[in-house]
C-alpha cells in the first residue's frame, strides 16, 4: 500500500487522465475533472498533481506538438502507467470490499 497511496484529488486526476486516453494534457484533464466533480479547478493544481504523479511513476508523459494557440509552446501529454492502473484498481477493490459489507437497505437517518 505504501508508496502507491493516492490522495482523493490525485485519484480523480488520474481517472480523468485514463478516461481521456491519448487526449490527456493539463487543460483537458482540468475540464474533465471539473465536469465530473462540478467544481471550479485551477490549472496550477492540475499541473502540480500531474507532475507529482509522474515523479511517483503513476503517469508517463511525452512532449507533443506546438501550436499558435499555445503561444508556440509544446504540450505535454500524460498517460497512465501500469503502476497507475494498478493503483486505481487497488483503490477500487478496497472500496468495493467495504461496500460489500454495507447493509443493502440504506439507513434512513433521523427516522423512528
Amino acid at each position: 500500500m505504501k508508496g502507491s497511496f493516492l490522495g482523493e484529488f490525485e485519484e480523480v486526476v488520474l481517472l480523468a487522465t485514463w478516461v481521456l486516453k491519448d487526449q490527456a494534457y493539463a487543460n483537458t484533464v482540468r475540464d474533465e475533472v471539473s465536469k465530473h466533480t462540478q467544481r471550479d479547478i485551477n490549472l496550477s493544481a492540475i499541473h502540480s498533481a500531474l507532475y507529482r504523479m509522474e515523479r511517483k511513476g503513476f503517469l508517463t508523459s511525452e512532449l507533443g506538438e506546438a501550436s499558435a494557440r499555445r503561444g508556440g509552446k509544446r504540450k505535454r501529454h500524460f498517460y497512465v502507467s501500469t503502476k497507475g492502473t494498478e493503483a486505481l484498481n487497488e483503490i477500487k477493490r478496497i472500496r468495493e470490499s467495504f461496500w460489500q459489507l454495507v447493509p443493502a437497505t440504506p439507513v434512513k437517518g433521523g427516522s423512528i
Binding site: N27, N42, L43, S48, Y51
Partner: protein, 868 residues
C-alpha cells in the same frame, strides 16, 4: 489577438527550469484564449496572473534539480579537478603565479584603500560644495603674488551688500603656550590653535560632545576644545566652564564653552582648539581700512545655494571701492577657490587646510595598476609558454570529443582558481602591509574595507575580470592546437606567441627599471638636500624652544650659563632657526620684495657656519648705536644700491634708517623647494622679547649627559616651562616628509615590482631550459663548452633587458624632471644613475636565469638523450 501578461511567467522562469515553464506557459496560454471567449479579456488576464502565481510550487524546484545537474555541475567539478591536478603537476609555476598575484593584489589593494580614503576625505562636511576661500592676486615687484590672507575687515565690509554670501568665517591657525593643569602647572606649546569667527561651526560640521551648540565661540574669550585636548590638559572631558590660562601676559585666560569630538581622520582641517577671534581682530571703528594696525587672515565663505562664485567675485572690488581707495586692496584680483580645490592646492597653504598632492595620488594609482599587470604578465607568459607542453593534452581531449569551448572554459577555470587562491592570501598580506603603509603615510587608513560589501564585491568582480584577462590568451592558444599538429611535428619548436612573451617581458623590465631609476633619483635628491646644501652639520645642533618674552631680561645670563656646560661648543639665542615657518614676512617702503627677518645674537652666524661675504657680524659693543643690520646676498641683489655695505638708505626696523653692516651668503633656512628669500637680521638687543629659541651646538660624543645638563639649566631659569628640544636634522627632515614618504613608498613598490618581474623571468628561464634540454645535450656532445651554452641561454634575456632599459630611461628621465621641478635647488640628473641601474638589472637577470641555465648546461647528455 491580445497577448497574456509577460511578468508572471518571467518570474517563474527565474526560479524554475526553462522547459517545464514552457509547458506550463503553453497550457496557460490555451486556457487564457478559452477564457477570453467565455469570460472576457479582463477576467482572462486576472485568471492568467492568478494561476501563474499559484504555479509557484515546490515541485517546480524538484524538477529543476533533476534536469540540470548532470550537464552543468559535473563539468564544473571536472574542470576543478583537472585544474588542481595540473596545478600540482607544475608546482613551481603554480607557486610563482600565486605568489606574484598575491603580492600584486595586496599592494594594489593597499594603494586602492589609500585612494578610496582620499576620495572620502571630508565627506562628512555637508556644505562643502558651497564653501569657498577668498584669495587675492597682486602684482608686486614684477611678480604675481597669490595670497590667502585678507584684510580682517574686508569681508565684513562687502558681505553686507552681497546677499549671495550667506556666512563667512575668518580663520587663523596659530601657536599658543598654555599652562597645563594636569602637568603640575607647566606650560605646554600647542600648535593647533585656531582662532575663528563663531560662524566657523556653521560652515564646517564638527561634532559637539558637550556644551551648548548654540553658543560656542560667540562671546569673546571663549574656546572649544577637542576631547583628546581635554584629556591632555585636564585628564577628563568634563571641562565645560573651566578656563585655560596662557604663559604670556598678552593672552587673557579663556573659558571653555564646549568639548567637541576630535576632527575625524578624514578631515582636511585638523585642530585642537577653536577660540573666538574677537580679541585678535583690530578694532573696526568708523573706517577700519584707515586704522594703522591691520591684520590679514584667511577667510572662508559659505555661499547661499545657487550662487555662482563668479558673480560674487565680480562684486568684490566695486563693493570695496565704497569703503576704501587703498591700492593694494582695490588693485588686487580676487577669486574664490572651492573647498574641493583647496584640498589639493599645494601652491598656497593657509595652514588651516592640509592639502594633498593630487599627482602623488595619481602616481599611486598608476603604480597599482602596473604592479597588478606585472603579476598578470607572469601568468600569461608562463601559461602560454607551457601551452606547447599542454598541446598534447588538448589534442587528446579534442579526439575524445572536447569542443574548443570546453577547453577554453577549462583553462579559464584554472586561472580563476589561481586568482581565488591568491585573493585570501593577498588580503592576509594586506593586513601585514597596512601597518607599514600607515607609518609611512603617517596617517591611519580609516576606510573599513572588511565590512564594506560594495568594496568586497567590487574586489571579487575585479578578480573575475583579472582571471578572464589572464586566462583568455593561454586558453585560446592551447585550445587552437589540433591533434594532427601534435602527431605531425614537434610543436615545441613553433615560435608562436614567443614574440608576445618577449614584448611582455620587456614591459615588465621597463617598469622595473623606470622605478629603480626613480628611487635612485629621489634618494639622490634627498641626500643632496641633507648634505650638499647646508653649511652646517644639522645633527650637532639642538634647539630649545620657548615662548615670546621668556628671555626679555636675562638672555645673556642664560647664554653664558649654557656655554659653560661640558659638551657644549657654542650657544646662540634667536627668534627663529632654519626650518621654522616664517609667517613674519614683511615688506618695506622702496623694497620690491617680501622679506623675512630674524633677531639674532652675535653667535648665530658661527653656530650655523654662515659665511660673511663682506662686512662683519654683530658685536654687542659696537652695535649699541646706528641701528645695525645684516642682510643676505639675495636681499643685497634686490636693493637698488651701488654699495650696499654701510648704506643707510633704508629703514627696515625701528625709528631710524638701518645701517647694513654685513652681507652673508645665501644660506638655506627654508625648504629647498623654494628659492632663497631675502633675509635681514637684527641684533638681539633690538627686541629681546622676540628671542624664544636657544640654539646649542654640541659635541656628539656625550649627547645624553649634555642633554641632561641642558634640562637642569632650563629648569633653573624657566621653572614653569616644559623643556622642549629638537634636533635640527629632525626638524629639517620634517620639511621634506612628503618626499621621504614618497621615497619610502617608491622603494617598497620597486622591490615588489622587481620581485615579481624576476619571478616571472625565473619561471620563463626554467621553461626555456626544459624545452631546449635535448638541443643543448646534442650541442654538448658535439663539443660546445659551458660558456657557449650559458651564452646561448642568456643572450636573449640580456637583449630584452637592454631594450627595456632603452625605453625606461627617457621615461624615467621625463617623470623625474617633472618631480624635480618642485625644487628650486636640485641635483642634476646624471648619466651614471642610468648606467648603474642598467648594470644592476643585468646582474639581477643573470642571477635569476643562471640557476636553470647552469643546471641545463651541466646536465649529462647521456641521461637526457637516453629516452629519445
Amino acid at each position: 489577438m491580445k497577448q497574456p501578461p509577460k511578468f508572471p511567467i518571467w518570474l517563474l522562469r527565474l526560479i524554475a527550469n526553462r522547459s517545464i515553464v514552457d509547458e506550463i506557459e503553453g497550457d496557460l496560454h490555451e486556457d487564457y484564449l478559452d477564457n477570453i471567449e467565455t469570460r472576457g479579456l479582463r477576467k482572462a488576464r486576472s485568471i492568467y496572473r492568478w494561476t501563474a502565481f499559484r504555479s509557484l510550487r515546490p515541485y517546480l524546484l524538484a524538477h529543476r534539480r533533476e534536469n540540470r545537474k548532470p550537464k552543468y555541475i559535473d563539468m564544473v567539478i571536472y574542470h576543478l579537478k583537472m585544474a588542481t591536478r595540473i596545478m600540482s603537476k607544475n608546482r613551481v609555476f603554480t607557486a610563482i603565479n600565486i605568489f606574484g598575484l598575491t603580492i600584486g593584489l595586496a599592494s594594489s589593494l593597499a594603494i586602492l584603500l589609500f585612494i578610496i580614503d582620499q576620495s572620502r576625505m571630508d565627506d562628512f562636511q555637508t556644505k562643502q560644495d558651497r564653501i569657498y576661500r577668498l584669495e587675492a592676486e597682486l602684482e608686486r615687484g614684477g611678480s604675481l603674488q597669490r595670497s590667502t590672507r585678507m584684510h580682517s575687515h574686508l569681508m565684513p565690509a562687502i558681505a553686507e551688500n552681497l546677499p549671495g554670501i550667506e556666512k563667512f568665517a575668518r580663520i587663523q591657525k596659530s601657536t599658543r603656550t598654555l599652562v597645563s593643569h594636569k602637568d603640575g602647572n607647566k606650560s605646554m606649546t600647542e600648535e593647533n590653535f585656531v582662532f575663528a569667527d563663531p560662524e566657523f561651526f556653521e560652515l564646517f560640521d564638527f561634532n559637539i560632545v558637550s556644551g551648548n551648540p548654540k553658543e560656542l565661540i560667540s562671546a569673546p574669550g571663549t574656546v572649544v576644545i577637542t576631547v583628546s585636548t581635554a584629556l591632555r590638559h585636564f585628564g577628563h572631558t568634563d571641562v565645560v566652564g573651566e578656563t585655560i590660562e596662557f604663559n604670556s601676559k598678552y593672552d587673557k585666560p579663556m573659558t571653555i564653552t564646549a568639548v567637541m569630538a576630535d576632527p575625524p581622520g578624514n578631515s582636511s582641517i585638523q585642530f585642537d582648539f577653536v577660540a573666538s577671534n574677537e580679541s585678535l581682530l583690530p578694532p573696526g571703528g568708523s573706517n577700519p581700512f584707515k586704522q594703522r594696525f591691520s591684520l590679514s587672515i584667511p577667510v572662508y565663505v559659505l555661499l547661499s545655494p545657487g550662487t555662482s562664485p563668479e558673480a560674487i567675485v565680480s562684486q568684490v572690488v566695486p563693493e570695496l571701492k565704497k569703503h576704501t581707495d587703498k591700492k593694494s586692496l582695490i588693485e588686487s584680483t580676487y577669486s574664490l577657490s572651492s573647498f574641493d580645490h583647496l584640498k589639493y592646492d599645494m601652491e598656497v597653504a593657509d595652514g588651516i587646510i592640509t592639502p594633498v598632492d593630487k599627482r602623488v595620488i595619481r602616481m599611486f594609482g598608476i603604480i597599482a595598476i602596473l604592479i597588478v599587470s606585472l603579476a598578470l604578465i607572469n601568468y600569461v607568459n608562463l601559461t602560454s609558454a607551457r601551452a606547447i607542453q599542454r598541446a598534447q593534452e588538448a589534442g587528446i581531449r579534442k579526439v575524445v570529443g572536447a569542443s574548443r569551448r570546453t577547453l577554453v572554459s577549462q583553462l579559464l577555470t584554472e586561472s580563476l582558481m589561481i586568482c581565488f587562491i591568491a585573493l585570501p592570501l593577498a588580503i592576509l598580506a594586506l593586513e601585514l602591509i597596512i601597518p607599514y603603509f600607515e607609518t609611512v603615510l603617517q596617517r591611519e587608513l580609516f576606510f573599513e574595507y572588511k565590512t564594506n560589501l560594495v568594496f568586497l564585491s567590487g574586489v571579487v568582480f575585479f578578480i573575475l575580470i583579472l582571471a578572464t584577462v589572464a586566462g583568455l590568451y593561454p586558453a585560446l592558444v592551447i585550445s587552437r592546437f589540433k591533434f594532427s599538429h601534435i602527431v605531425n611535428g614537434r610543436p615545441e619548436h613553433s615560435s608562436k606567441g614567443a614574440l608576445l612573451r618577449k614584448v611582455l617581458v620587456i614591459f615588465q623590465f621597463t617598469f622595473s627599471i623606470a622605478l629603480i631609476i626613480g628611487v635612485f633619483l629621489v634618494q639622490g635628491q634627498l641626500q643632496f638636500i641633507r648634505t650638499q646644501t647646508l653649511s652646517y652639520s644639522p645633527e650637532h645642533i639642538i634647539m630649545l624652544k620657548g615662548s615670546f618674552g621668556m628671555m626679555s631680561k636675562n638672555y645673556k645670563a642664560v647664554r653664558a650659563e649654557i656655554q659653560q656646560l661640558p659638551g657644549v661648543q657654542q650657544v646662540s639665542v634667536a627668534s627663529a632657526s632654519p626650518g621654522d615657518d616664517f609667517f613674519a614676512s614683511s615688506t618695506r617702503k622702496g623694497v620690491s620684495a617680501t622679506m623675512t627677518n630674524y633677531f639674532t645674537d652675535e653667535n648665530y652666524l658661527d653656530v650655523f657656519n654662515i659665511e660673511i661675504l663682506r662686512g662683519r657680524k654683530f658685536n654687542p659693543i659696537a652695535d649699541s648705536t646706528g641701528a645695525p643690520i645684516i642682510i643676505n646676498q639675495a636681499l643685497a641683489d634686490i636693493l637698488e644700491l651701488e654699495e650696499p655695505l654701510n648704506s643707510t638708505a633704508y629703514k627696515f626696523f625701528g625709528k631710524n634708517n638701518n645701517k647694513i653692516i654685513g652681507i652673508v651668503e645665501n644660506f638655506h633656512f627654508q625648504s629647498l623647494r623654494d628659492e632663497i628669500k631675502p633675509v635681514f637680521m637684527l641684533p638681539a638687543s633690538a627686541m629681546a622679547p622676540a628671542l624664544k629659541q636657544i640654539i646649542v651646538k654640541v659635541e656628539t660624543s656625550e649627547f645624553d649627559q649634555t642633554l641632561q645638563k641642558l634640562e637642569a639649566t632650563w629648569d633653573k631659569f624657566f621653572p614653569d616651562m616644559i623643556f622642549n628640544y629638537q634636533f635640527l636634522d629632525d626638524k629639517l627632515d620634517r620639511m621634506y616628509t612628503a618626499e621621504y614618504r614618497l621615497s619610502k613608498i617608491f622603494s617598497l613598490f620597486t622591490i615588489l615590482a622587481i620581485l615579481i618581474t624576476c619571478l616571472g623571468l625565473f619561471g620563463l628561464s626554467m621553461h626555456i631550459s626544459e624545452v631546449r634540454l635535448k638541443e643543448i645535450s646534442i650541442r654538448k656532445v658535439l663539443g660546445a663548452s659551458m660558456g657557449q651554452i650559458m651564452r646561448l641561454l642568456s643572450s636573449q634575456v640580456y637583449l630584452l633587458v637592454a631594450i627595456a632599459a632603452l625605453i625606461a630611461s627617457p621615461l624615467a628621465w621625463y617623470f623625474m624632471k617633472q618631480w624635480l621641478q618642485d625644487f628650486a635647488y636640485k641635483k642634476a640628473i646624471s648619466a651614471d644613475t642610468f648606467v648603474l641601474t642598467f648594470i644592476a638589472c643585468l646582474a639581477m637577470a643573470t642571477l635569476t636565469i643562471s640557476w636553470h641555465a647552469l643546471k641545463t648546461a651541466r646536465s649529462n647528455p647521456a641521461e637526457t638523450l637516453r629516452n629519445e
